[in-house]
Amino acid sequence: MDVIFAVKLYLNKMIEECGFGLKSLLMDRETTSIVSMVFTQSEMLAKEVYLFERLDRSDSIDTMKYLKCIVFVRPTKENISYLCRELKAPKFGQYFIYFSNIISKTDVKLLAECDEYEVVRDIQEFYCDFVAVCPHLMSLNILDGCYQNLHLKSESLERCVEGIISLLLSLQKYPTIRYQASSTACQRLAEGVKHVLNKEGSLFNFKSSSTISSRDNTTLPPVLLILDRRLDALTPLLNQWTYQAMLHELLTINNNRINLSDVPSVSRDMKEVVLSAEHDEFYEQNMYLNYGEIGANIKALMEEFQSKTKSQQKVETISDMKAFIEQYPQFKKMSGTVSKHVTLIGELSRLITMYNLFEVSEAEQELACQSNHSESLKKIRRLIANENVRYVDALRLVLLYALRYEKHSSNDVYSLIEALKKKAPGEDDPGKVSLKGVENIYTQHTPVIKDIIEELAKGRLKASHYPYLGTIQLTDKPSEIIVFMIGGTTYEESLAIYNLNKTLSGVKIILGSTSVHNFTSFLKEIRSDVTASTNSSSKNL
């Protein structure tokens, strides 16, 4: 149940089936992310894939009949029409077409009619229609907001269903579905998934064999639990202190890449860095550690590196040179890793001091976990007034406060909003950012999802709040859980799932979501919902 591995298996098979020889890979925007998250370019080069192009920009490709072409795209209408155009005037010698999801027969027919030069050698469905972020985390990269008026937009709903279906197929799971009762979005998505499961039953014919093979463990089917981000709006508001989450919060990770071009005095080859736990050992070992620990580890790494460079520096004799050359590849790799992480951590620490993040975070944690209203209010006022504190962090605090003390008798959100307005007159009216519909539950600074999964794994999750879809109801403990969160998850939650996987023996948990949020993107998500719903309501009038 490793999503990265699942995608890798598919991609390897794709390239294998294409056979030996020069190959090119034609992708769309989304499949480019899917591929780049699991394989590096040099890995692809080693598999004889030498050219990477976008199907929608295939006009700019030269005709190269001596190349085989692997087409890996999502089965969208646009892609089909691009592909038709491509087949009518083929630029490559042979085409091996793989769709990342279920495709309709009419589309296949359309393509077949366009293949006048008989260049297509294969056409298949390979179900990996999701971005594998970590072995236990997948995202659909829906970045422009998936809500409209508290409901899922229809295109987002469709994308979520497709994503979940392909995830289930790639892992060969046929699940029982549960969903969060308080959210209509969850219910609709659950029904959407169920509908496809019934319709495409033949694809899921592994369901019988998989239960037999896991007989020793349990014959229970895996559980798909669909949750709504609004269940826990607090988590994305908090500043993060583990490496991966911090990087995302302060520098924004996009498909394992961080753009550092805005960072002052960064060397040219560090303008964009790639962070992949699959290929970067230091990152793999440190991504879940907190800020203090990483500081110590990076120091150790640097010392090791320096001692190595020192020994490399005294290249005097031929044998020194030989030794240097023999170690050169590892040496170069290590120097890349060291300089990358030193740059990143340097930048993190600069931002933390510049924006007084320690202080802000302390106030956040107090707000989230304790209930000392007047003390917190005082602190927030002071921080808002502090020039060094960013507007977004101030906004964070006010939102947290509003969530936390919504029903408090002496709640003073309005004066805080006024203070915020003063702080940044150019910014949007914070009042616009409404969090209505959010269940105001008491939240510790551990994400709510952790408790829910624990309950679920123990078989104690209440069916009244998280009902089953369909008639089957199980009271036993499931051993395989797939959680899908509408509206985006966070790296903090990913870490929580990682830890649960480690501590709960015999239970495998995968987290999926529409996107991985930091505060900025979460804010955007909420705003887009608000604007989308105001737009639609004005249309209705």
Binding site: M1, D2, F5, A6, L9, Y10, K13, F20, G21, L22, S24, S42, L45, A46, Y50, L51, S60, I61, D62, M64, K65, Y66, G93, I102, I103, K105, V108, K109, L111, A112, E113, D115, E116, Y117, E118, D122, I123, Q124, E125, F126, Y127, C128, P135, L169, S170, L171, Q172, L203, F206, E281, E284, K322, I325, E326, Q327, Y328, P329, N501, K502, K508
Partner: protein
């Protein structure tokens, strides 16, 4: 008398252990009981070495067994290879954190769903139309070109006989430009479908092009020949200019080159076919170079692990491999690396001087091929361990000899003590049932080299004995010697240095035995 190929090592060692307990160290020749292996060894070396006739007899039978064994090994080679690749992949996974590792171990690829059958069905039904139509045109074209008479009138008759021409009166307007025909815009017929069009809507098939179309298999040879000699027996080459211009115009263009008038629909079909055929035969320089590059890399991949093994064995002072072989192999690898470098650079520079420069995507492709080649060199070739020099090797071997000597001494001492202790403890009956072959015992230490044999890709020793030479007439020993020599040669060519070492050892013994036998006979 030493033969490492006879029995399985494991069995032998088990026997040895059992024998230790049972104290059954019997010499199979004189059936005397010895207390330890080592004593037995000593005894055997001292007493039975001169027992030549027996040993040679055994040897030849053992050799036959060896050849069968070698064949078996060749057959096994493929399966072994699979296993070794599996091992390497699982070794990579160890790096993963524990639960990911468990998750991955029995994860198989998800389902796939192929639409190709349906796709082909739809495509074929559509393509068929084109194919039939194109084939019809090609047959007509063939007829037109083959026996066209010289005389213009007769030729027109001939052309009409190939395909029925549409009646002039039936077509009032040119079907493609919709203009009416008159004195200045005359009707013309497509020679392939018989349709009518005006002159400006006519297409012309170049004569060379047409002959290429009807004989695509000659494609390469045709393009190599000078244009005048392409169709020496054709009447078309020297068409007489006389008679009606209109019919003459159908065969000769303004420049005097022969051609055939066709309509645009027929031309499109023929062009499509030409494109398909050309794609099939085209082999641009980049693919040729790339194939070369790949074969070099494949050679490198085959030899690198072997070289590393030889290198580590040599640097440990073992004598399984000859230093000369390793050096040769190193030079060979360096040459391969050089070739990879040269060919990949050539690929990256294809057309780069051209005006206009190649398309950016082609450049990208060439650069990426070069990039992956240098990556390969850096990862596989640059860090190759270096070999010890002759003196270093001798020192290493001396050291190892001493170590082994020491170990043997220790073992001997230990074994003696143990045996004495056992003997004093109980005087149980010796067990003659243990199948003890002294030849294997003497071989225990040298057989350790046998363990190192890596089951590599199989090699076929296709030795060629003259079929007419009577094998029985020659001494079987000589035949064996020549066979083994042949094996050695083959093995060296195939870089199977493990086998070379074993075989050479074998050959030496065989030759000694042969000499001894000769002496005895005389």
């Amino acid at each position: 008398m030493a033969n490492p190929f006879d029995d399985d090592l494991i069995v032998e060692q088990v026997d040895k252990e059992q024998a230790m307990v049972k104290e059954g160290f019997l010499c199979p020749d004189c059936m005397t009981d010895f207390k330890t292996i080592l004593r037995l060894q000593d005894h055997f070396a001292a007493v039975h070495t001169n027992d030549d006739r027996e040993t040679t007899k055994k040897l030849s039978s053992q050799l036959k067994g060896f050849i069968g064994k070698a064949r078996k090994m060749l057959n096994k080679a493929d399966t072994f290879e699979d296993i070794s690749t599996l091992d390497s992949s699982s070794a990579l996974a160890i790096r993963e954190p524990f639960f990911y590792h468990i998750w991955r171990t029995n994860q198989s690829i998800g389902p796939t769903n192929s639409f190709f059958e349906y796709f082909k069905q739809v495509r074929d039904s559509r393509i068929e139309r084109y194919v039939i139509e194109t084939n019809k045109l090609l047959i007509r074209l063939d007829k037109l070109m083959k026996d066209a008479p010289n005389d213009p009138e007769k030729r027109k008759q001939h052309e009409k006989s190939v395909v029925d021409w549409v009646n002039d009166a039936d077509v009032k307007l040119c079907p493609s430009c919709a203009k009416s025909f008159n004195i200045s815009r005359r009707r013309h017929h497509c020679r392939l479908c018989g349709g009518i069009m005006c002159h400006s809507c006519s297409m012309f098939l170049d004569f060379d092009y047409a002959s290429k179309l009807i004989s695509p298999t000659n494609l390469q040879s045709v393009s190599l020949l000078p244009s005048s000699s392409r169709n020496p027996d054709s009447n078309m080459a020297g068409l007489p200019r006389r008679g009606s211009n209109s019919s003459l115009m159908s065969m000769v263009n303004s420049a005097g080159e022969p051609h055939i008038r066709v309509c645009c629909d027929c031309k499109i079909l023929l062009d499509r076919r030409n494109q398909l055929v050309e794609d099939q035969f085209a082999k641009p320089i980049i693919t040729q170079l790339y194939e070369k590059l790949k074969s070099f890399i494949a050679d490198g991949n085959k030899l690198i692990p072997l070289y590393c093994q030889m290198c580590s064995s040599l640097s440990q002072g073992e004598s399984n491999y000859k230093l000369r072989d390793a050096q040769d192999l190193r030079i060979k690898l360096m040459r391969i690396a050089e070739n990879i470098d040269v060919v990949s650079r050539k690929i990256s520079n294809i057309d780069i001087q051209n005006e206009p420069p190649p398309h950016p995507s082609q450049l990208k492709l060439q650069r990426n091929i070069r990039l992956s080649a240098t990556q390969y060199l850096r990862e596989n070739m640059v860090g190759l361990p270096s070999l010890p020099t002759e003196e270093e090797l001798q020192k290493l071997q001396e050291k190892r000899r001493q170590e082994i000597q020491k170990r043997i001494e220790e073992e001997r001492k230990l074994a003696l003590e143990e045996a004495e202790a056992l003997r004093s403890q109980s005087s149980s009956s010796s067990s003659p049932s243990s199948k003890l072959d002294p030849k294997n015992l003497t071989q225990v230490s040298s057989a350790s080299s046998f363990e190192l044999v890596s089951p590599d890709t199989g090699w076929g020793p296709e030795f060629s004995l003259k079929p007419d030479c009577d094998l029985n007439a020659i001494d079987p020993m000589l035949v064996q010697i020549s066979i083994i020599k042949n094996y050695i040669k083959k093995a060296r060519e195939e870089h199977k240095y493990d086998e070379v070492a074993i075989l050479e050892l074998n050959l030496k013994e065989l030759e000694i035995n042969y000499m001894l036998e000769k002496q005895n006979q005389s």
